[in-house]
């Protein structure tokens, strides 16, 4: 009987040791992934689409690599939720300490690429005091927009020529383009979102 117990005990020990080793390995693997320059499996930089900014520059998402990204999908003719979403973004921005500001980019992606031309986005940026390096407005093709929304789990639908209904989600990505945090809803407490950004800023 004693023997059996010892065997079981040692087996358990052996197993748990093994488990520990395994998790060590996993951690190591993650570390090497981060330190190497290859794009992670979960990164949005795997998306090949090209976008146009409010300054009429064409960029691929992967050109944003190295910055912490805070992203939201909006459209500029929106009267209801978008002004509040934009306010939420500004509120988040205001909580980033000056020393970290240059590590973070705040990105607004249009879900209405037909209407939201780069000029319109530029006007919108100026009207909302978002016309500096930190704020990037993106407009893509209809297909790229649909795909990007799919990645963010943002749902949207055109409900009339000038209106869309859409999910209100703000997403935070690390410097490798991997999704780290999402907040859903309007005017929700953004404490966790800001904490995630600051945490990421410490590492970068």
């Amino acid at each position: 009987m004693k023997n059996i117990i010892t065997t079981i005990l040692s087996l358990t020990l052996f197993v748990s040791c093994n488990v520990e080793k395994k998790s060590d390995k996993v951690l190591q693997k993650v570390d090497t992934e981060i330190s190497s320059n290859t794009i992670s499996d979960m990164s949005i930089y795997n998306l090949p689409s090209t976008w146009t900014t409010q300054n009429n520059q064409d960029i691929e998402l992967k050109e944003l690599q190295g910055d912490i990204l805070v992203m939201v999908m909006i459209y500029t003719t929106c009267k209801a939720a978008c002004p509040r979403l934009v306010a939420d973004m500004r509120n988040i921005e205001s909580q980033i300490p000056v020393k970290d500001k240059e590590k973070v980019k705040l990105i607004l992606v249009s879900i209405d690429p037909e209407t939201d031309t780069p000029e319109r986005l530029k006007n919108f940026a100026q009207e909302n005091n978002m016309d500096n390096e930190q704020w990037v407005f993106l407009r893509g093709t209809k297909e790229a927009t649909r795909e990007f929304a799919a990645v963010l789990a943002v749902n949207y639908k055109k409900i009339s020529p000038m209106d869309f209904s859409h999910s209100n989600i703000i997403s935070v990505f690390d410097t490798n383009g991997v999704l780290k945090h999402q907040q859903e809803g309007l005017g929700v407490n953004n404490k966790e979102t800001v904490e995630t950004i600051l945490e990421l800023a410490k590492k970068s």
Partner: protein, 261 residues
């Protein structure tokens, strides 16, 4: 004689590889456009659907296997985590072989939206929009719009209750007015804009049209709640994510009709 055999063999191989590599051997049929009132529409007005061509059958295991052979990045062990969850092709033996109890002519399932979309694009096609899919699928054997028939809805609902229809082969259900098989009765199908459905999945939330989660949600009301089968499809679409794969979720492709012809 031997060289003749060799010649024939080469011809066969060449023509075979030509047909499996990213070319559809899947027939398509024309769906004549029109306007209709979908369950979830735009400001309760009619939705206009242009003419389009739709695959007669859902994409099969066999066809999908040819696709992943040609495009290794969509194989089970190689697909990016961004583009699929862990159940992607989980029912296959390995990257390049079906499980032995899987029929080559059964519909492919356990594929994510990204994978399905890429499959169609590689053939010069695309996934159907929700409106196109619903438009084609409101037909029964003889009518382009059979939604008012109680037996049409009953038939679809009884399929929803039948387990494991994904094990059947393509073409095993009825041929509809447009000449399309299996829109109902085999597997659920991906649509290009499945993420245009804005229902939270929690009925209490939908009742008060949670405007904090969805901007403008009050405008997206169901037009005909009697159409329970359609409601289930929309609810399903609203509940899934693009990296999701499910054992009863497959797809087929469509193509725009070239108007210059």
């Amino acid at each position: 004689m031997i060289s003749l055999f060799r010649f024939l063999a080469i011809i066969t191989v060449v023509s075979y590889s030509g047909s499996i590599y990213c070319q559809s051997n899947n027939e398509m049929t024309l769906v004549k456009g029109g306007s209709f009132m979908p369950l979830y529409g735009v400001d309760s007005s009619m939705v206009i659907v242009q003419d389009f061509k739709m695959d007669v059958y859902p994409v099969t295991n066999h066809e999908y296997l040819a696709f992943v052979k040609k495009y290794p990045k969509w194989q089970r062990s190689k697909i990016l985590k961004l583009f699929s969850d862990d159940s992607y092709l989980v029912h296959w033996e390995d990257d390049l072989s079906l499980n032995k109890d899987l029929l080559p002519e059964s519909p492919i399932t356990n594929v994510s939206w990204f994978a399905a979309k890429s499959y169609c694009e590689c053939q010069g096609k695309r996934l159907p929009t929700v409106d196109e899919w619903e438009y084609a699928a409101m037909a029964n054997e003889t009518m382009p719009d059979a939604r008012t028939l109680p037996e049409y809805n009953q038939k679809i609902l009884s399929w929803y209750e039948t387990p494991k229809t994904f094990k059947n082969t393509i073409g095993s259900t009825f041929k509809n007015y447009w000449g399309i098989y299996d829109l109902h009765g085999l597997v659920w199908e991906w649509t290009l804009d499945f993420n245009s459905v804005l229902i939270s999945g929690e009925s209490r939330k939908d009742v008060d049209k949670d405007s904090n989660l969805f901007c403008g949600s009050a405008a997206v009301g169901a037009s005909d709640l009697m159409n329970y089968a359609a409601f289930m499809r929309y609810a399903f679409r609203g509940s899934i994510k693009a990296n999701y794969s499910g054992r009863n979720l497959g797809f087929r492709c469509v193509k725009d009709v070239d108007k210059t012809q």
